[in-house]
Symmetry: C2
Subunit: 385 residues, 2 copies
């Protein structure tokens, strides 16, 4: 029996993770949960999974829950420190890092420093602090298994392969809801249209990132750090069916690919059971029913954010942090319907192009760049509104 803490348990990945754990309850037990403001769902999860420690964002809500669960031996903490406490809870065997955005960084690092196995869904941590996280993994003997379907695919394909024999890794992108829209049509899409992803049911932020293709840009940077690949070894292919998640081209011309139904249960379960695999209740992939798998080049004129992400990947240092911070702020503004869809890409580009690159050597450096870029992004939003 392995003990699991789920960081971000009320989000999309968090909820699906709990479904997987529930199905494999003979193997896994929930010991910790962290949530943001969805106290009601967290309460339900606590009642069902009986964790030993939980954390939520606000002190007052934590006090409410403490009263509510008084009779039971459950530790209720709050805020960033609370999430870190859950992440470093000594009884954890596995920590699922599924908080969205840079908010997931400190809790992820807390789990890494305990030398735990981390199932990483929080790609932004890797984007802003890849070097720091990899150094800590080495230092503390932690193990990191990707949960993003594309990176899970790469991880599976790499299996026994030597990295020196890997020529290229290609992540596929569905193309999002606007793949076949013209730029002028994209100009007036609504929030609802942007949130209506054709293939994946995901959280709001990543759904918007998928519509702008920023999600794929962040994933390129994530893959760079996860697998130690040079920028020129990383590619993207549009694949509207979202069945092939990634492809690994070897030096001898052979290409290994990972396919699965478009359901996050597959990579989540793999991350939890690795190096074992457990039966799934999902129906088998039937390619004769799907009939055709299509692949296209990315139209970088239509989705210029991909070029921006490549720039951040190649420049490195503070650039990916600025990219991520600008994107988080600007996507928030779009989700609050304060800007139009095409503004996302435009504003993020403007902020990142004005960013002054600098060396990043500590967590403090990362948060400095993050804070400063958020300020610049908010300034730009204000100026343009």
């Amino acid at each position: 029996m392995k003990n699991i803490s789920v960081l971000g348990s009320t989000g999309s990945i968090g909820r699906t993770s709990l479904e997987v754990i529930d199905k494999l309850s003979h193997k896994f037990k929930v010991v910790g949960l962290t949530a943001g403001r969805n106290t009601q769902l967290l309460e339900e999860q606590v009642e069902k999974f009986k964790p030993k420690i939980i954390s939520l964002e606000k002190k007052e809500e934590a006090q409410d829950l403490r009263r509510k669960f008084k009779g039971e031996s459950i530790q209720v903490t709050f805020a960033q420190e609370g999430a870190e406490e859950v992440a470093s809870f000594p009884e954890n065997d596995i920590v699922i890092s599924a908080i969205t955005g840079i908010d997931g960084l400190r809790p992820t690092l807390a789990a890494v420093r305990q030398g735990k196995k981390i199932a990483l869904a929080n790609k932004e941590s890797m984007v802003v602090a890849g070097s720091l996280i990899q150094n800590s993994i080495q230092k503390f003997g932690a193990q990191l298994i990707p949960v993003d379907s594309e990176h899970s695919g790469v991880f599976q394909c790499l299996a026994k392969e030597k990295m020196e024999n890997v020529k290229k890794v290609i992540l596929t992108a569905s193309g999002g809801p606007f793949f076949s829209k013209s730029p002028s049509e994209m100009n007036n899409v609504s929030l609802e249209e942007a949130l209506n992803h054709p293939r994946w049911k995901m959280g709001k932020k990543v759904t918007i990132d998928s519509a702008t293709l920023m999600n794929k840009g962040l994933e390129l940077i994530e893959a760079h750090w996860l697998f130690g690949l040079a920028p020129r070894q990383l590619g993207i292919l549009i694949h509207p069916q979202s069945i092939v998640h990634s492809l690994v081209e070897m030096n001898d011309g052979s290409v290994l690919a990972q396919l699965s139904p478009t359901d996050m249960k597959v990579p989540i379960q793999y991350a939890l059971t690795y190096p074992e695999r457990e039966d799934s209740l999902l129906p088998s992939l039937d390619l004769s029913e799907i009939k055709s798998l299509e692949f296209y080049e990315v139209d970088v004129e239509k989705f210029p954010i991909i070029k921006l992400a490549r720039l951040a990947l190649e420049e490195g240092e503070s650039f990916p942090i600025a990219l991520n911070a600008a994107n988080e702020v600007v996507v928030d503004a779009f989700l609050e319907q304060r800007i139009k869809f095409l503004d996302i890409s435009e504003f993020v580009t403007e902020v990142v192009e004005n960013h002054q690159k600098r060396k990043v050597q500590s967590l403090e450096d990362i948060f400095d760049v993050d804070k400063e870029t958020r300020r610049a992004s908010l300034g730009l939003l204000k100026q343009r509104s």
Copy 2:
């Protein structure tokens, strides 16, 4: 530097193997070659690769070559025993088994009994003597790496996976030249049309087997013995582009696939270099150029030989031997233009359906069934002509 003997060096796989070895001449040296009747090409190969031992079919031709290469220290043998001598040449590190048909069986076994690494292209050996070969591999500590592109793909996908977690293995088939022909159109196809494979340049026998889909039937049986998979775990998908060679479905819903350009150099080189990989000069697979990968169910009404192969696979014992023998004889008759294309499937079916299953425990048993089935097949051909 590894020493290689190529059994069947003048055939399609043999010639391509020598191209691969030539390109990797810093790693590999040819020490042995065997050929059938293409003495002229064998001579050229001897002059280029300077092997230490060669074998060809006829005694007289062997004597000719002995005279011709008198000054050089080269051992020239002949017939089945000659091929076995090359296969068990003590200096071999790797033996490429690329003789077509059951004729490859004794030489393959000779290499296995020396505990060598065998790159197996001779699928018929596995079909008729899978159990015997696997037992000998265990006993003599040999290693067998498949060369068939589909099985090479499966081998690569399985990498670190546990066989108990494998749910299904799917081999793809291009569908051959008659994939989109109606049965009545297939009735009158010429030998040239049948030999004109849309994707692969191969030897004549396997090209005809690809047109009838018998090749895929034999490959199912080969996969059964290579990977220890039950018949129900083995499937076929038609995939006209021949880019995805095989798919391995795991118990957790994840599917691993191997793709590569339609060029036998890829699996041949992999078999030679395994567990390493070497750079290839082939252009990278560009899926955005290929655009679409299509998959269809096999039409077993149009290609009934698939049902027959499944029957042989499920019945086991002497059935696969009978299937292979009938097919070798009947395909020969088609290559000599003595029968029509649709007769192949019809005659093979008739012979196999009349076959009386019996236990097979030795090489002698195998050759008995083979001989008897050849007699029955020749009888049927005579009767129908």
